[in-house]
Symmetry: C2
Subunit: 316 residues, 2 copies
Amino acid sequence: MATLKVPPSVPSPAEDSEQLRKAFAGWGTNEALIIQILAHRNSAQRNLIRKTYADTYGEDLLKELDKELSSDFERIVLLWTLDHAERDALLANEATKRFTASNWVLMEIACSRSSHDLFMVRQAYHARYKRSLEEDVAYHTSGDYRKLLVPLVTSFRYEGDEVNMTLAKSEAKILNEKISGKAYNDEEVIRILSTRSKAQLNATLNHYNNQFGNAINKDLKTDPKDEFLALLRATIKCLTCPEKYFEKLLRLAINKLGTDEWALTRVVATRAEVDMQRIKDEYHRRNSVPLDRAIAGDTSGDYEKMLLALIGHGDA
Amino acid sequence: MATLKVPPSVPSPAEDSEQLRKAFAGWGTNEALIIQILAHRNSAQRNLIRKTYADTYGEDLLKELDKELSSDFERIVLLWTLDHAERDALLANEATKRFTASNWVLMEIACSRSSHDLFMVRQAYHARYKRSLEEDVAYHTSGDYRKLLVPLVTSFRYEGDEVNMTLAKSEAKILNEKISGKAYNDEEVIRILSTRSKAQLNATLNHYNNQFGNAINKDLKTDPKDEFLALLRATIKCLTCPEKYFEKLLRLAINKLGTDEWALTRVVATRAEVDMQRIKDEYHRRNSVPLDRAIAGDTSGDYEKMLLALIGHGDA
């Protein structure tokens, strides 16, 4: 369930473009107007606005926003305005760069998007970077991380509900054997996590829990400082309970001394049109504070307003 | 360049369906009529015939063919009649089964199809088998073969012409180091072969040849009995010179005592609409015998007629 609020009657892309043009005009920028428009249009509507803006003014809306805005507010407006596949391609590309490298972002894009959406990210990556996503991921990672991340980003999981219970049992056993032997990077563990459908994986992990007495993520917590283990646990969470995975990301981002705006922005921009309502519910349940209040307490200005609008707090 | 010959004026799908229905009627089957129609229609036309046949007679054309035909002739007519993505999904699925397992077929589908066509195979695999291609490949392979084949079948290579010469040099060096050290299954070797664009790989391998004095496939021939090395060489050939790869497959299939119909059928059914003309030229050059004469000498009956029609020998 999305939190994006689109008004019942939406102005035409031409009207929206004209208003945005006005928001950029003169000495100051009218940030409130930018939020009022862009934070309340869905993906198809934003794409149309970009197209109309380019056709009408001969300028790329994204470049205009880049010129007019700055810091965290700029980043969330730009990320949000992009189409989901372009946005994910950009986030994934950043995640393979030296100073912004992030195995978590790569895993998150690979595991929380639908199979078809992930494929669209790979297409957008070709178009934008003239290379393949897996090529950059493989080149910029090594060891266990490469072993896990390349199959994850190249996966095209089956999405039906069919579950093979015999297989669930045999693979739960394999997982338990490998984990008991601390062979966390074993190719069988990676094969199961990176190729099985989410429904099948869920059945396997339920059986694991029933048969061996612990949730698999508990058994993967032998060394809290081991970063590969933390990534494995996050992978499993992201595949089986994405709202819990995102809730935890938000919790850590907000509770951190000095707020992790990079993560906060990413989660809000990528989930507002997908499952942010469920993430908000989970956040409230887990932290006894509504997410909008937590965000309002930790951010400010136009950045705060944009975040709140996207999580459904602002007027549409 | 395809060898498929489509007549200048093609009957409507309804007329073709009616003729096929007649070919199945009564005691005998009219194989000549089946060849005359199906061997001279392109992929879109065959799909329309299947659809029209099902709409008109309430029967699946493929099931009818399966009932009426037998052995090698049946197999080539069925494979040919399928859409390329369905056909490859079927071949790949067979290649993961116990008695028909074939690492070569999996590699061939992964390396000789375009990135987009390979993705369509993965979609067709979902639809037909309710599982993902990589899931079955990973489950039914192990060791070095799994390490190589899973990244190959999940690849979505960039297809532009851009080449990075600095990268070509550095990766040629990596390949040479690993191969000199007999680390043929090294993850860097597999990363380069499975993720780089065909244009980039070609530049890398040209540099390898110039810099280190041998074509890479010569350096990979240290042990002619090593099956993994043979698969690696075939992978490189299939990625860089598919017509040479297919020529060799045909040569081995035909020269074999007792002809390898399985391979012969596969190559003809999958390449007739793609690059069979180039494969024929290469075959003639390499064997001093035209392919149609070689096929005619080694096969017979309707199977022979169908093969010859598809490689452009029959009248359209």
